[in-house]
Structures are given as C-alpha cells and as structure tokens.
C-alpha cells in the first residue's frame, strides 16, 4: 500500500481488501460522478462519503476512506481532510441510531435542554456516548433548520419535530424494535411522528 489515511482509528490493512461497494451502491456512485465534467470526479466526494458511511456500518474507517480515494482517483489525505471537516461524517464507530438533538437558539427557547436530559436518562448515557447495546448514540447538533417545529432531533434522514417526552419514548421504542442501522441516505425519510 502507498499513502494511507491517518484517521483517528488504527489502519487495518487486512480489512482493506474486503471493502467494496455492492453493485447498487456502485451504480449510484458512477451516476454521481457523471454529474461533473471529465476530470472533476473529486466533486462527488461528499455524496460518495455519505453512501460509504451508510454501506459500511455508519462510520468512516481509515480503510473505507482509502477505498473512496481509490474510486475517485484522489489521494487518501484528500478524503480525510474532507471527512474530518464536516459534522455528518463519523470517524469513530457509532450506534445504529445516532440521535442528533438540535440545541441552537430556537430549539433551546422551546425546551431542547429538557429533551436532551430526558434522552440521557432514558438511554442511561451522556451526550457523545453510545448505549451499551450499541443501538443508540446521542449527539447534540447546531441548527438543523427546524426552528418553527422546535424542539427537534434528527435520526438518519428523518426529522422528528415538535418533540415531547412521550414522542421521544415512542421513537426510541420504535428504533429499538426495528434494530437496523439508520443513515442519512435512508429512503424512509421525513418520518415525523
């Protein structure tokens, strides 16, 4: 291997060979690349990273970032510098459902802090932590553009708005019983309770 991504996690060379998009994901990646002029395929990096994160367990390991670099014919460090800049890319393993509660002005004015405390209690974790069963990670987020329907939380592609304690409880039970990985690229979007 030549240059490798130096992420926050150790690089496991043996895993690198196993990482490959399935045909459907690869087709989407190729379509995305076709949206840009010849030689400008690097432009597809942000959307391709979203697909990679959804396909490979909800986070971007150094090996996955290396793989994305090989597809877009760019240097691994070009992938890492982007993945580490934007908030939506996880550089460490996370739970299957990442609950992101907005905490900026309007959401704070309407009780976001109470919602965060409630989730902490319900899942027995603090902000930034993952539940023992690996199901939930709780994060705070800065303004998600849902100020008129505050307080709100994003889980994958879904916006959950006008939250109450009851809604949060229902939501957690729903995700727990479904038990699957929720990603930003989920088609089951805008699942407002």
């Amino acid at each position: 291997m030549g240059a490798q991504v130096h992420g926050t996690q150790p690089y496991d060379n043996s895993k690198r060979a196993e990482i490959k998009f399935n045909d459907a994901a690869m087709a989407t990646v190729q379509t995305l690349i076709s949206h840009y002029p010849e030689g400008k395929q690097k432009s597809a990096l942000l959307p391709v990273l979203h697909i990679a994160q959804a396909e490979f367990g909800g986070w971007l390991s150094p090996e996955v970032m290396d793989y994305v670099a090989s597809i877009l014919k760019i240097k691994p460090v070009e992938v890492f510098e982007v993945a580490s800049f934007y908030t939506m890319y996880n550089l460490k393993p996370v739970g299957k459902c990442v609950i992101e509660v907005c905490q900026t002005s309007s959401c704070w004015l309407c009780g976001a802090e109470d919602i965060i405390k409630h989730i902490e209690k319900r899942l027995n974790i603090k902000v930034g932590e993952t539940s023992k069963d690996g199901m939930f990670t709780l994060k705070t987020a800065e303004c998600l553009g849902s100020c008129g329907t505050a307080p709100m939380a994003q889980v994958g592609a879904s916006y959950h708005e006008n939250l109450t304690y009851e809604k949060v409880d229902t939501l957690i039970e729903k995700y727990r019983s479904e038990g699957r990985l929720r990603s930003y690229t989920d088609m089951d979007y805008h699942n407002t309770l």
Binding site: L46, T104, W108, E142, G145
Partner: protein, 445 residues
C-alpha cells in the same frame, strides 16, 4: 391579506408533482423566456424588478448577474445555495419540500439568462430527504422535456443536478460553497476574484439563494416593473419569513415587504402573538447573525416610526438602534428569556462552525463561548462584559469571510441593549435560568 407569489399554492394537494404544478401555471416563465425573450432581456427584467438576494446579504440580483464574465468557449455555471443553516431560518427547506418545481423552474429560466448549460443545487446534507424530493422533481422535469437537450425545441439545452453537503454552516458562504462543491473543505476563498469571474472550477459562476431563484419565475411572468410595484421603496416584492420562538404560530410566512413588524407578530394571519399570554422581550429579526433588538426598538424605530418588515426600515438607525432583514429568520423571545443564555447558544454555534482559517474568528469565537460559559456557571466578573465587547470588536472586519461579523454582531448587540442583564448575572455570582419553566408545555397541553 398580503400578496403571495412564491408559496400561494402550498396547500394544493400534490403541488410537488409536475402535473399539478403545471395545472397551476408552473413553467410559464420558462416558456415565456425561451420562446419570446433573449437572455439579456430576462436579465433586464430581473434588474427592473429590484429583486435583492434573499439569502441574507440583500445584494441586487440583476446586478450580480450582470457581473458574470462571458469569455468565449468557457463554461458558465449557476449554483443554487440551498445550504440553509442560519439559525432561525427554514424557509428554503419549506419551499423545496412543498413546491420543488418552483426552484427548478427558476433554475432553468435563470440559467437561460446567464447562458449556463449546467447548474447545481447545493443542499445542506442534513436536508437529505429534501434533496430526494428535489431530485425526484428534477427527474420529472427531464422526462417532460423541461431539462435536457433543446428545451421546448429551442437551441437551449440545460442539465441540473443536486449535490448534498456534509454538514457545515460555512458552506452557505458562496466561495466556501464552491470549494465544497469541488469536493474540498469549506474554506472561504479570498475575494477578488469574485465567483462571477472565477467560480466553480475557475469558471464564471453565479451563486443565488433558493428563494431568489424561485422569485425569478413571477418576475418573468408579470414583468419586472409590475414586480417592483409590490413592496415598499427599494424593498420590492415578497419575502419568505421563518418565524420561530415564543409565538403562537411558528412557521413560514410569505409577506409583502413593508408589512408592519407589529402586525406580523401579533396578527392572527401571521405569528398570532406571544404564547402562554407572556409579553415579548426581544426579537432577532433576520437570522442569528443580525443584531437582537428589545421590544421597543423592534416595534418602533428610534424616531418613533412604526418598524416595517423591509431592508430599509429594519436597518433604520444602523446597529445603534436598528438591525437587518437578513435571511428572514425571525426569532421571538418572551419576557422570561435569558438574553445571556440565548447569546451563549449563538456563540457556541459560531465557535462550532468557524472554519478555522482566520485567527480572529477561530480563536475569538472560542473565547467568547468560554467567557459566556462563565456567566452561566456563576464565575463571571463585571469586567467580563468589557472583555466580551473587546473580543467581538477585534473579530469584526478582520476575517476572509463574513462569519467573523456574523459571530461578532450578536455579541455586540446583546451587550448594547441588555448590558444590565449581563452585569446582574456577574454581580450575583449565580445564573438562574428564569425561563426554565417547562418550555414543552405548549406541546403537552
């Protein structure tokens, strides 16, 4: 009832589909422009309309278009800024989600004016589900021949694509957005060169907000002069306002510019007054970056005239007694709200979102957050108010992009208008969040 031009059909069932959108007059501006007008005539109508950028800066759109360089043999691009991230703002999300074809129609008509064969809609990554809605609408438009080769049998061909971001407020700054669209970190570029000369991949590029582009459709349909008759003075046309906070009816409202602020807040047609029977304390009128104003100054100017929802009236008095229309992110706070804590949430936001390129912003936003945290944990001293003032004054005007100002202005305004509240917290050595009654009441009840 004010006049509506953008979301007047938002309650029509299935208006997000091409068929229903067409039944309600959709794509008329494309037909009119491509069949009866030259590109320069389209630009002239936009100039005559007086339309100003709806993303926050309020720069005249027609003028921005006229700056576009047109060298032979070089591609030109239109890029739509749908990276809506200014706290308090959610109008573009609403427009794209409910009437996606209004944006696509505007993209085609505007691209025709600019001679752009390709355009991109850059949507913030968190709005992934919105991007899907817009993508579906684009696919419909291609299938019906509104996009692709030789649109309406003319020589004009156009491709329009969506790109999602990765989560970064700074990408709402146009040069950072272009960097991001090129697959890089969202670090703003030094201007000049301006995007109109060297933008996406170094090619001449126009970057416009979602609402600005959608407004081009009614302008072409009715003519620029007719559009300019709506509104007041140099604030022509209509504006989408995102209303949030302690009001009875939060949501997106389309207003005719010039509507009195008092009517907007208290009438049943709009915000419906302050919830829980409380009194109003302050308003942030145009997104988190613009100066906060106390009730007396948001309802009336310092001269005692009624404050209007317009660029000029909200700006009346400068930053001493006025504010800005900005993005139209209208955040209302009731009498129990702690201005100190609200400012903390803003400052935490700017610290989180600073790209880190310029030291005054990178370091200054962090220090302001730390000092405000001292107020919240009861360890602030009176001189910390002066210190905050000093730091914000050393960020403003000293950074590559306007995030520096955006971070500094809210701090300056909060101290300017609510200095005693900061001093009281510092003197009492404890912070009591008096507003901490159960804010979730409104939903539980």
């Amino acid at each position: 009832m004010g006049r509506k031009l953008l979301i007047h059909n938002d309650k029509v069932p299935n208006i997000h589909t091409l068929d229903v959108y067409r039944e309600h007059g959709g794509y008329a501006s494309v037909e009119k422009a491509l069949k009866t007008m030259t590109p320069d005539q389209v630009t002239d109508e936009v100039k005559k309309s007086g339309l100003r950028g709806r993303g926050g800066a309020g720069f005249p759109t027609g003028l921005k278009w006229s700056f576009l360089a047109k060298p032979e043999g070089v591609a030109r691009y239109l890029v739509c800024n749908a990276d809506e991230s200014e706290p308090g703002t959610f109008k573009d999300r609403y427009l794209m989600e409910v009437i996606p074809h209004a944006l696509i129609e505007g993209m085609i008509t505007s691209s025709y004016a600019l001679g752009a064969k390709t355009s991109y809609i850059y949507i913030r990554g968190e709005y992934f589900y919105v991007a899907r809605i817009v993508e579906k609408a684009i696919a419909e438009a291609y299938a019906a021949g509104w996009l692709g080769k030789n649109i309406l049998g003319t020589d004009f061909s156009h491709d329009c694509y969506v790109q999602v971001g990765g989560g970064a407020y700074i990408c709402g700054e146009e040069t950072a957005l272009l960097e991001s669209l090129e697959g890089k970190r969202g670090n703003p570029r030094i201007k000049p060169p301006f995007p109109a000369v060297a933008g996406l991949w170094g090619c001449p590029t126009v970057v416009n907000n979602v609402e600005t582009i959608a407004a081009v459709c009614p302008i072409i349909n009715m003519g620029g002069e007719e559009y300019a008759k709506i509104g007041i003075g140099k604030s022509t046309g209509t504006k989408l306002i995102s209303a949030s906070g302690h009001i009875n009816k939060p949501g997106v409202y389309e207003i005719e510019l010039g509507l009195p602020v008092e009517e907007f807040i208290y009438s049943e047609e709009y915000c419906g007054g302050i919830r829980n029977g409380k009194k109003m304390k302050a308003v942030v009128a145009g997104g988190s970056s613009v100066p906060i104003l106390p009730t007396e100054l948001i309802l009336k100017t310092a001269k005692g005239e009624p404050r209007l929802m317009s660029y000029e009236s909200l700006g009346d008095g400068g930053f001493q007694t006025g504010t800005m229309l900005g993005s139209g992110g209208f955040i209302v706070m009731d009498e129990d709200t702690s201005i100190v804590k609200n400012l903390f949430t803003f400052t935490r936001f700017y610290h989180h979102e600073s790209c880190g390129q310029c030291s005054p912003c990178r370091e200054g936003t962090g220090w302001m957050e730390k000092i405000l945290k001292k107020f919240l944990n009861g360890s602030a001293v009176e001189s910390d108010v002066e210190l905050l003032w000093d730091i914000q004054s050393k960020i403003e005007g000293k950074t590559i992009c306007p995030l520096g100002e955006a971070a500094a202005w809210p701090v300056a305004a909060a101290i300017r208008h609510f200095k005693n509240e900061f001093l009281e917290v510092a003197r009492s050595k404890k912070f009591v969040d008096v507003s901490h009654y159960n804010r979730l009441n409104k939903i539980v009840a």
